[in-house]
Symmetry: C2
Subunit: 314 residues, 2 copies
């Protein structure tokens, strides 16, 4: 095998196995140890961050920095990747530390000049906005780690109602929505799946929890479990065109909407009775853009609420 090809393959190989001995590679490539040593030095000069230790149990290592093999990207692909990573700057907290910033930088610096020009001309013209929020979420990486490894955490959670207290939870997944991070987790206190706002989790640690982690083979099942409504109540309402447009902004509502040709529409679904206070506010906010047909119970609570408000503003 000619040297140039061997170097390329060597690069892939050392990236695959992060630790290796010279003899190993020599056998694998059918060349002498001396040759491999020389090759490794060249790779090193080319930027692959190799580190070696002598002695028994020694050997070579690739440091955390690894060279990805060269990839053929479309110009458009490269641009897409750039803006995707660029969008992450809106997040004040990320589960991957600050590494996206340096990735962006490296990516940008390695671009051929004309692509870089194109990016420059687009940089001020395109953006994926995420609302910048105050709440930092300091525990994201711990939560993610626990989710991946299926471990139980003790967290200090500051809930809306009860103030700050400790809970044991087993994270399932974390996600960002509308500028805030949330964590779905099994809560050992409440014995069920709950969603936690990550910025309200002040501390999280693995410390000696004797609780056995539960089995989470099917994540989706657990998610659904969290959402099953009890005490269903039928909800029917008409929406004007403007009403529909506003409803479409609501994640949970959009899938249940039925839209007519002319843009207006309606909803006919079952909701949990315990959610009625929420719907009271929701329908009030919709103002004249809706006509509520059912349930009477909701109409009543809306009337009552409106009367209270009116009194407040008198």
């Amino acid at each position: 095998m000619p040297k140039s090809k061997r170097l390329m393959e060597l690069m892939m190989t050392v990236n695959r196995k992060r630790r290796f001995k010279v003899q190993e590679l020599a056998d694998e490539f059918g060349v002498s140890k001396r040759t491999i040593l020389r090759d490794l030095q060249e790779l090193s000069e080319l930027g692959v961050p190799l580190y070696s230790e002598v002695g028994p149990h020694g050997g070579y290592q690739v440091l955390r920095e690894r060279v990805l093999p060269p990839i053929a990207f479309t110009e458009g692909e490269a641009v897409s990747m750039f803006f995707a990573v660029h969008a992450l700057r809106h997040y004040s907290s990320l589960p991957f530390e600050t590494e996206s910033a340096s990735a962006l930088n490296k990516f940008y610096l390695h671009m051929p000049g004309d692509i870089r020009d194109r990016i420059d001309s687009m940089k001020d013209r395109v953006d994926f906005i995420t609302p910048a929020r105050r709440g930092d979420a300091p525990c994201l990486s711990v939560l993610l780690d626990a989710a991946i490894q299926g471990k139980v955490l003790v967290v200090q959670y500051e809930s809306k109602e009860e103030g700050s207290h400790n809970r044991m939870i087993q994270p399932v997944c974390i996600y960002a929505n509308n500028g805030l991070w949330y964590c779905t987790a099994y809560c050992f206190l409440r014995r069920g799946f709950r969603v936690f706002r990550c910025d309200r989790i002040r501390e999280a640690s693995y410390e000696a929890t004797e609780v056995e982690p539960i089995e989470l083979s099917d994540i989706r099942a657990s998610r659904q479990g969290a959402a099953t409504p009890r005490e269903p109540v039928r909800l029917r309402a008409e929406f004007t065109r403007a009403g529909i447009q506003r409803c479409e902004s609501e994640l949970w509502l959009a899938p249940m909407l039925v839209v007519r040709e002319d843009g207006s529409g309606w909803i006919d679904t079952e909701v949990a009775r315990s959610d009625l206070p929420f719907f009271t506010e929701f329908f009030i906010a919709l103002g004249k853009e809706t006509v509520l047909q059912e349930p009477a119970e909701l109409k009543n609570s809306i009337r009552q609420r409106l009367a209270e408000l009116l009194e407040r503003y008198e």
Copy 2:
């Protein structure tokens, strides 16, 4: 220069200049044409998509696909990039066509096995959610292109009030927010900067507009121009803790909020009189979580609105 190094440099060079002749490179590298030809063939075998045409005015070209030079990414950087691009799948429309999907795929396939494992274990655990919206925005790439090149477009816009009609606009920038795409543009009809919802732009074309594009050297100035309030009215209000939390979800409001230690807070700012109808609805939606202090005008309109609603639900 040894061959292996020359190959690497050659890769960079052909990526920089997308069209070139063999003789050119031969001079540049101080080797013969024959050697360059052989090298180019090797690059080709390595995946660089070269294309050549014979004859005068012929020469080599790198096709739209280009090999980015190998970049040293931290493991964390690679993972961040993956999830950043992964998040784009939530968007039903993008200004860069479908190229992010293929970028993601290539990226994933080229990862060393253990990083791929790590990504797999994280894929169901982390997400950047963007509300999935119905409205497709078919014209994004045209709008972006016009913004970059400073051209005037004729668009068919379906506005909330006036239905569908044509306008001439000069796009400034486009951005995604909460699942919808918006375009800031100079509107020649209204003679000022306006924000358009891209999914309401049915068609956009360059066709023979004799209108001269305006100068947009400073984009930020133009953005501000769009936001300067006329007929300012002083707005003062108190918010409970829960009220503050809801206000923080509002992008335009968050910067003006003042938050106290205990989580409650207030606002004291100037708004345009023309926005009062909007604030009427906004404060009604806030319910009991706020106490409006000023202006009386707004209080009146809220009262009136509440009374109307109450009647509706009677």
